[in-house]
């Protein structure tokens, strides 16, 4: 959380992170927020449907279903393409619902015809290229169910270090 004390009229953002490792199928969590307003605590609610087989979803399949922009060298990895395949028999429009815009932007197709695959792209912001993070973005489709998909985005940075010298105790040679 950016701020723990809010003046009258002020605002802040509360980030809720869900680790899906332990879950299968539907998950619902209600984190509680205690304030000096007193009881009862306020709650926010998050809902997710965890897919053990994310490569066979409906009505779209996202490839790859997780985006990794990790960087281990000097060459900056600031974008990644991914595909969205419409496996239903109706055209689907795509609307972005949530993303961490300090870290990246996402260019999604407006509509995907039935059976077609559309390309999409995630581009890191200048700030996003400088740090390691694990975030996600969520989009919604125009099918009757209003299906939503959340794509995890991970970036690990290892700054190129000086080449390691010989380990302590190993001979330096030369004598």
């Amino acid at each position: 959380m950016e701020k723990e004390q809010l003046a009258v009229g002020d605002s802040t953002r509360l980030e809720i992170i869900l680790d899906t490792k332990r879950f299968r199928s539907r998950v619902e969590k209600r984190p509680r927020i205690s304030t000096n307003e007193g009881p009862p605590d306020k709650t926010v609610r998050i809902i997710a449907t965890v897919m053990p087989r994310p490569d066979s979803t409906y009505p779209v399949i996202i490839t790859p279903y997780k985006l990794d922009l990790s960087q281990f060298g000097e060459k900056v990895r600031d974008r990644v393409e991914f595909d969205i395949t419409n496996v239903s028999d109706e055209p689907l429009s795509v609307e972005l619902m949530s993303l961490k815009d300090e870290y990246f932007s996402v260019d999604l197709p407006d509509e995907i015809a039935p059976g077609e695959t559309a390309s999409a792209e995630l581009i890191l912001t200048d700030y996003g290229t400088k740090i390691s993070f694990e975030k996600s973005f969520t989009f919604q489709l125009s099918d009757n169910a209003g299906s939503r998909f959340t794509v995890p985005v991970k970036r690990t940075m290892r700054t190129p270090g000086v080449q390691a010298g010989p380990a302590k105790g190993y001979g330096q040679g030369g004598n």
Binding site: M1, I17, T20, A48, M51, S136
Partner: protein, 67 residues
């Protein structure tokens, strides 16, 4: 005039202190629910909720307990 002041002054004092005592923080969360939809297993996902201070005193967020 004196009678008017002696009547109005206590009323004004009561109104002033009542206002101070009534000042209270209030939290407003416009979007209380977020649906991630389908998510892959073994991953970390995140969403930000906006919290607004809409009372008439400073709002302090004491803690957030995982659900």
């Amino acid at each position: 005039m004196r009678r008017l002041i002696s009547t109005l002054l206590p009323m004004l004092i009561v109104v002033f202190f009542a206002g101070s005592l009534m000042a209270a923080p209030r939290l407003s969360i416009p979007e209380e629910t977020f649906n991630f939809g389908f998510v892959p297993q073994h991953s970390k996902i995140a969403h930000e909720f906006w919290l607004h201070s809409v009372g008439d005193d400073t709002l302090r967020i004491l803690r957030v307990k995982p659900g």
